[in-house]
């Protein structure tokens, strides 16, 4: 039953771009897929390990900048810099984890905010290298698949979809492996986890490294898709908050949460942008902030766990429920 539903969903996702009326909607689903990847990556460290990061833009921006700088300087294919950008972000995560994991919840979050801000400021400062506030552009090559550039949005969609599927699979694998269990234990009670032999620094470090790598790769993709990287957008606090929000709204520590969260968040962002049509600067972000507070007040765990509870209660009420085991 669930296999059929999953297969159906997968097929829908594959034909989706063909069903949409115009490229603008395809853009929206591309962005949803990108945020699903970002939220999924964040989830590894923020959801499962309970280390709430508000600085994932640091890894996103690192991927975007490393890739774009290399592409501009050497003409190397972005298909290669996808991995290099991810690797750069992974390397960045190593000292960050080593230093910041000793901090408790909110203080870890602050340190990560600092990380994002410091990188943003450094990029702005060293403008000979990074072109400062003007940002970098990816040299436009028209239809150039080997350079990860396409004229239609469809290929971008399928790449992003593949990345999102990969993240889902990786998260599921991790959830069932020892690392996944260990992260949950650490999230519940770090001292108790240590006492039963769990090396919390190592486990968190692994989760962060994986998270950073995927986020960096997404950053490279984003740079290629939008052709432009600006320090304020890719390294900005706003991006970090959006990334975290996707996982939180959808459901932290769940495999499907980020997917749902990305769909919700992106629909929300796009519809407010349409509604306010750029007339009132800041208005959609006020609604954003308000939404965040409302979600926290109503369902701090996110939508997926709430849905799970709703379904469980519904299933419990039906005595002849078959296959209701989630």
């Amino acid at each position: 039953m669930r296999r059929a539903a999953a297969a159906g969903l997968f097929l829908t996702l594959i034909v989706l771009p063909f069903l949409l009326p115009n490229p603008f909607y395809v853009h929206i689903v591309v962005m949803m897929a990108v945020f699903a990847v970002l939220g999924g990556a964040w989830n590894l460290i923020g959801g499962y390990a309970g280390q709430l990061s508000l600085g994932h833009a640091a890894f996103f921006g690192t991927g975007a900048y490393v890739s774009t700088l290399l592409v501009n300087a050497t003409g190397i294919s972005p298909w290669i810099t996808l991995w290099l950008g991810g690797a750069a972000a992974l390397l960045l995560s190593l000292p960050v984890g080593a230093i910041c994991f000793r901090l408790q919840g909110p203080y870890f979050a602050i340190a990560t905010i600092g990380l994002g801000e410091v990188l943003r400021l450094l990029v702005l400062h060293f403008r000979e290298v990074t072109n400062g506030a003007q940002g970098l552009t990816v040299p436009f090559k028209g239809e150039a698949p080997w350079q990860l550039q396409f004229e239609s949005k469809f290929p971008y969609y399928y790449i992003a979809l593949a990345m999102a599927a990969a993240v889902v699979l990786v998260t599921r694998r991790m959830e069932r492996a020892r690392l996944g269990h260990y992260l949950v234990a650490i999230g519940q009670n770090q001292d108790a986890a240590e006492a039963i032999g769990i090396d919390s620094v190592r486990a968190k470090g692994q989760a962060l490294a994986l998270s950073a790598f995927v986020t960096g790769v997404a950053g490279v993709f984003y740079a290629q898709y939008t052709y432009v990287v600006h320090p304020d957008s890719v390294f900005g606090l706003g991006m970090s908050i959006q990334i975290a929000l996707v996982a939180i709204v959808g459901g932290v520590g769940t495999v499907l949460g980020p997917i749902l969260g990305a769909a919700i968040m992106e629909s929300f962002v796009q519809s407010t942008q349409i509604a306010f049509a750029g007339q009132y600067p800041g208005l959609e972000l006020i609604v954003y902030g308000g939404l965040l507070m409302a979600v926290i007040l109503w369902q701090p765990r996110g939508v997926i766990p709430w849905l799970a509870r709703v379904f469980r209660r519904a299933a419990a009420r039906r005595p002849a429920a078959r296959g209701a085991q989630a």
């Binding site: 020892r178 234990a185 519940q188 001292d191 108790a192 240590e194 006492a195 032999g197 769990i198 090396d199």
Partner: protein, 244 residues
Amino acid sequence: MKGEALLQVEGLAKRFGGVQAVADLSFDVREGEILGMIGPNGSGKTTTFNLITGFFRPDRGRTRFAGSEVTGLPPHAVCARGICRTFQVAKPFRELTVLRNVLMGALLRHPDPVEAGARATEVLRAVGLEGRAHMEAGSLTTIDQRRLEVARALATEPRLVLLDETMAGLTPTEVGEAMRLVAGLRERGLTVVVVEHVMRAVMSLSDRIVVLDQGAKIAEGSPAEVASDPRVIQAYLGAEYRRA
């Protein structure tokens, strides 16, 4: 080797600000025994556990386990060597099931979660919690939470278990059950150190007893010897006066 020193604590000392919590503490724990550790409140018993298991670093002194040095190792490494502890205030993984709690411990020696799950089920049976395997740990009764702490520690297949006030706040019947649980550990070949305030339990369970007062060891010997030691009596009575 039964009877030989499994754990050797030498000259441990720890100071917190103006308080010398543990002062030049030395004792051995012999393989296969149940060692009781008693003393008035604040005598440094839990701090000693924290020092042995790596939650605190000692200012001075060494800890040797099975012949090798374990001083200053982080808690997870100490556990991997074979020493596991429970906490005075139980720290279950509240939102997880009882089974999953114990599975976390089993993963240390059995990295495959499926195998670890099987081991965990066995351990639950050993402590009598198999009926509660799928209950949320946070909703257990006090005695069952204590059982869970012990089960989780057992799952790591230790050689030495440090139990911190496992019987605090239990009814007399529950104390009896807890005592059987602890005695059962020895039957499984484990060595146990028990910190307790429930005197009848400690006195009847322990092969030997170490008495601490204000961070220092003031007596050591069989329960009978310790119970009649004037310094021990003085420490407990003295503690009463000190509090007043």
